[in-house]
């Protein structure tokens, strides 16, 4: 059966059917993005921290804006060419449109991947240090002589699974273990499943005995109710003390002398190291009451040299602002606050000191790299490296929704928009590649299809026109 009104207009609406369809769809899309834009306003107005302004690199967003505008033009030109039956030009324009979508998504991937690798560490006084974790962040915990775990019967959700939750983090060879009964156990797939089966069998026997005892005591009704396998607590002693090295996100938690893994296994031992090595590329002191007393300037961290650099940058920004806009309140200018209290770091030592000559700064750098203490660290040399004490850190995250509401709404909006770009590009690619027969036999029908696909594409462009200034510029 032929679908009616694909080429000619339906008399009552005055439009071909697909066009009504796309406009109904776009109407719902406006409300979808409208809701998200209004969430953006809500989050921004209600933010209890300095909302990031000019935080994102402008150039990828700027290039993407031009790319999307260009592709909007080419898709409408593809439609016009088809209307004029310039088949060659139609194909060229459609191809350019799809390539533009590819460039857009490529730049998006570049932007996203940079954020996944970039970290912000919030210190207890509100200072935020930004930078990279050259070795990731892992804690070291050693001298583990005993693992305590619960093998669930049937009434507990978390059951011990040391093979996947404990052993992957053990450094070096995995020794054999001894059970409470003195049996030797090799913790591999076969050894663990045999041991696990043995525990469950014992639990079943115990359950059966308990029931029999109840029946014998004339309490058969209670025996019927008692049908869940009991849990069994197990302790395993490693032949040699264990040492683990693990990301904090992969375990439940730790203290100075115990560590709890995701499967509920706990171990006692000793915390060896939970300090964080950070290559600092920024100090955001906007939330600190007295920026000069920020923890970042502790001698063990960035020290006085960087503090001087900070004070210098801050004072010159404030003076410049006072000269330029004498009537304005400096505390009300978000851009000034950022310029003055968010120090960006581009070199291993403060520039003010490097100004004496390059040789001097190179000398200053050399011995610090030579220190045996952090020989394995050996940063890239572009940024100062600090080793942060755990007690000074309240929170850290890469630049993902976990960090703050700005990145939450940033990823929601750009992610959803990106999906629209992909979907739109696929539809246009389909018209270009798979609709050859229609192009030859019924170009007017294909022109209508391209018009409808183009309408969606323009909408995607339209959303980006608002996203770009809101997220990148303002």
């Amino acid at each position: 059966m032929d679908i009616p009104y694909t080429v000619s207009a339906r008399p009552d609406t005055g439009l071909f059917n697909a066009k009504i369809g796309i406009w109904l769809f776009l109407a719902s899309e406006v409300m979808l993005f409208g809701g998200l834009f209004s969430s953006y306003i809500f989050l921004r107005v209600g933010a209890d921290y300095a909302w990031p302004i000019h935080e994102l690199d402008v150039w990828p967003g700027f290039v993407n804006t031009l790319v999307l505008i260009g592709s909007s033009v080419t898709v409408v030109m593809a439609w016009a060419s088809l209307k004029l039956r310039k088949i060659g030009m139609y194909k060229v324009y459609m191809t350019i449109t799809v390539i533009c979508a590819g460039i857009f998504m490529g730049l998006k991937a570049y932007e996203y991947s940079k954020k996944f690798k970039h970290y912000a560490v919030k210190l207890t006084d509100g200072t935020i240090l930004t930078g990279h974790l050259p070795h990731g962040y892992e804690i070291e915990f050693g001298e583990i002589t005993e693992l305590s775990m619960t093998i669930a019967g049937e009434n507990k959700a978390v059951s011990a699974a040391p093979l996947s939750h404990v052993l992957p983090f053990v450094e070096g060879e995995i020794p054999t273990f001894t059970t409470a009964e003195g049996e030797e156990l090799t913790l591999d797939e076969a050894g663990w499943s045999a041991f696990h089966a043995q525990i469950i069998d014992a639990a079943e026997v115990k359950l059966a005995n308990d029931k029999a005892a109840l029946v014998a005591a004339g309490r058969g009704a209670e025996a019927d109710l008692k049908y869940l396998l009991p849990d069994t607590s197990v302790t395993l002693k490693p032949a040699t003390p264990l040492k683990v090295r693990v990301k904090p996100s992969k375990i439940y938690g730790y203290t100075g002398d115990t560590i709890t893994f995701r499967d509920g296994t706990t171990a006692s031992g000793k915390l060896i190291n939970d300090r964080m090595t950070l290559e600092v590329d920024g100090v955001d002191a906007r939330s600190v009451p007295d920026a000069e007393k920020s923890l970042a300037w502790k001698p063990e961290y960035l020290g006085d040299e960087w503090k001087e650099e900070f004070v210098h940058t801050r004072d010159s920004a404030l003076t410049h602002f006072a000269d330029e806009y004498p009537s304005r309140d400096p505390s009300k200018s978000a851009t000034l606050q950022k310029k003055a209290f968010y120090l960006h770091i581009h070199s291993p030592t403060p520039e003010g000191h490097a100004a004496d000559g390059d040789a001097h700064s190179a000398e200053a750098k050399a011995p610090s790299e030579g220190h045996g203490e952090d020989a394995h660290a050996g940063g890239h040399g572009h940024y100062p490296e600090v080793i942060l004490e755990k007690k000074d850190i309240t929170f850290f995250s890469n630049y993902t929704p976990k960090l703050n509401t700005f990145y939450a709404i940033y990823f929601t909006l750009t992610g959803l928009h990106g999906l629209h770009v992909v979907a739109g590009a696929l539809v246009l690619l389909y018209f270009l590649v798979c609709n050859g027969k229609m192009l030859r036999e019924d170009p007017e029908h294909l022109a209508n299809r391209v018009e409808v696909g183009g309408l969606f594409w323009h909408f995607v462009d339209l959303v980006w026109i608002f996203l770009f200034p809101l997220l990148y510029l303002l």
């Binding site: 609406t13 005055g14 406006v30 409300m31 409208g34 969430s39 909007s72 323009h458 200034p469």
Partner: protein
């Protein structure tokens, strides 16, 4: 809706003009965002006005909303109402105060 060859040719010229205008307005958007206005809200307002102009150009010319059948406008009228409600809800939520001022 443009259907005759002549009309399409006319639209093509309009598309090119809009293309140029959109590129120029993009540069203006970026430039204006670097200007320190008396308050940052003014930056936001100006930025959104420019974005709205760009969006209207795309909507009116590329999406042919300057000469469309009435059915489309009727559909969009509903969207307009709902979109406005979505934004007003936020304003209402922001104006909402808890009774305890110290909360």
């Amino acid at each position: 809706m443009a259907s005759s060859v002549e009309e399409v040719n006319k639209s093509v010229r309009a598309f090119m003009k809009v293309f140029a205008a959109l590129i120029i307005l993009t540069f203006i958007t970026v430039g204006l965002s670097m200007v320190e206005m008396p308050t940052h809200s003014m930056n936001i307002l100006v930025g959104m006005i420019v974005a709205a102009i760009k969006a209207s150009l795309v909507g009116l010319i590329f999406m042919h909303l300057n000469h469309e059948r009435s059915t489309v406008y009727k559909i969009l009228a509903f969207t307009g109402v709902f979109a406005i409600v979505l934004f007003v809800l936020i304003v209402l939520a922001h104006g909402d105060r808890l009774v305890d001022p110290n909360f």
